[in-house]
């Protein structure tokens, strides 16, 4: 058997499979965006001009920015202990990262409902302690969405941060100490700058994930703080406007593509340095 035919035999099936189930149908979605309800770019004009859609875009960007910063900061703290802590600390932290990671997004969103809703645990405690007379609205708003998404995304930020922290050369830290730097100074002026690629990588992973997030905002936002993904769902299934839903999907895909291309460039530059 010749080289090219073996090549096709092994590599071909998955590529054909994805072409048939993903690439071609995505072209179909793109066609929807320029043909429904009538041919033209009207849906893109609506998507980029309609105040309602723009509100959703801005809300999505705002929530994603907050979630990215809080998830990466929380992940940095916990990863530091995972990588550099004592044996017991490492074990505890590892379990607290892995267990939530394997639990489904629905269970985790439900847990937050149980904690944050008006009759939930947090309001119950605060009221029984006499600190509150009226329950706080902690869920079915932007706050609930941010908490739930941060919770979901922390483990995804941990893995890139851990690999960055593990690759820090121990001798550099020792040199800093040898030259008289204190612990705080070693941390802020040596360790943190050396893990900067990991911070950027983690931030980008979290941001890209958050952009297309659907389940957590839909449950914890309670239909009140709709994000882009939920808007697409609503346009397809509730107020059938397939063209607009498709156009927003194409815009979202482009945005993520640009972000990923920027990340690849960053990685390649980092590697060539």
């Amino acid at each position: 058997m010749s080289q090219p035919s073996r090549f096709l035999l092994l590599i071909g099936p998955l590529l054909l499979f994805l072409a048939a189930t993903y690439l071609v149908p995505f072209l179909g979605v793109m066609r929807w965006s320029v043909t429904l309800p009538e041919p033209g770019l009207g849906q893109y004009r609506t998507a980029l001009g309609d105040p309602l859609v723009l509100t959703v875009f801005w809300r999505t960007l705002r929530i994603c920015a907050v979630v990215t910063v809080s998830a990466v900061a929380a992940a940095y703290v916990i990863t530091l202990l995972w990588v550099r802590g004592s044996a017991v600390q490492r074990l505890v932290v590892e379990l607290c990262i892995l267990i939530p990671f394997w639990i489904s997004v629905l269970t985790r969103a439900f847990g937050w409902l149980a904690l944050l809703s008006n009759k939930g645990l947090i309001n119950g405690w605060l009221q029984s302690l006499g600190l509150l007379s009226e329950p706080l609205t902690l869920v079915r708003n932007e706050f609930g969405v941010i908490v739930g998404m941060t919770h979901f995304l922390i483990p995804f930020a941990v893995f890139p941060l851990a690999s960055a922290m593990r690759s820090v050369d121990e001798r550099v830290l020792m040199a800093a100490r040898g030259m008289g730097a204190g612990r705080a100074r070693i941390f802020w002026q040596v360790f943190v700058p050396m893990t900067k690629p990991g911070i950027l990588g983690a931030g980008l992973v979290v941001f890209v994930f958050a952009l297309g997030f659907f389940v957590t905002p839909a449950i914890l936002g309670g239909g009140r703080s709709v994000m882009v993904a939920e808007l697409i769902y609503l346009r397809i299934f509730q107020s059938p406007d397939w063209g607009l839903g498709a156009a927003i999907s194409v815009i979202l895909m482009l945005a993520v593509g640009v972000l990923l291309a920027a990340m690849m460039r960053q990685v390649r530059q980092g590697a060539s340095k």
Partner: protein, 272 residues
Amino acid sequence: MNVLRPGPLAATLALLVAVFLMMPLVAVIPVSFTPTRYLSVPDAEWSLRHYRALVENPAWAEGAWLSIRIGVVAALVATGLALMFSLGIWMLQPRFAGLLMGLALLPMVAPPVVSALTLYFFLITLSKVNSVVAYDTWAGVALAHAVMIAPFAVVLISVALAQVDRRIDLAARSMGAGLWTRIGRVILPNIRFGILTALFLTFVLSWEEIGVTLFITSVDAVTLPRLMWMGLRDNIDPAIAAISVVLIVVVVTVVLARTAVARSRARRQARA
């Protein structure tokens, strides 16, 4: 020597994050024992009614069984295709390997909602020509899940292959082994563990998949996550708490067992 051992401040902050991560999982437990029909915390009376509901309402068992069937089929299809693809890339090292890899990983990096809409388009198009692999059928869901999880299998198997010593394959080839002998007798035994991990992870991903499933099912193919979604959206049903506790117990058991096995293996290796 550990120059930068985390101090008390770092340890406290990390502990707070750990509590934050575990909090919603713990919160589910008391809620699952509530005697009421709505989401609440039991004060005096603890009840097992929601666990009984899981057993008595056949929808839960049906949903779980459907999710298992879909997960097994999707994991086998995805891992099989990913295995062939990764083997091809590893053995033949074609030009444009990076581009081909990017193509194979597309469903993983694209926003889930875009994948969901794409697969919705795909399945309603298929529905026009057949009723087996179609919108709102189990075979349709299995196919869509296979698309979504195949990239994860590609990543895991490629990582396993990257650790195989190329020289053993070259040795086999120089002694006259054909393509299939090299794959079956030399390479596959070396990546056994990676293949099993891929099967396991892809099954779990399909078992909990909800984003795409919401777009491609309505009333017939109700998987377990889809059933939970319905209980979460309308009136919050405490039975969701009961099923969540069951799932959490399974995950905690598996993670603890895996950690224990990994530690004892590490200890044995350290001694040897």
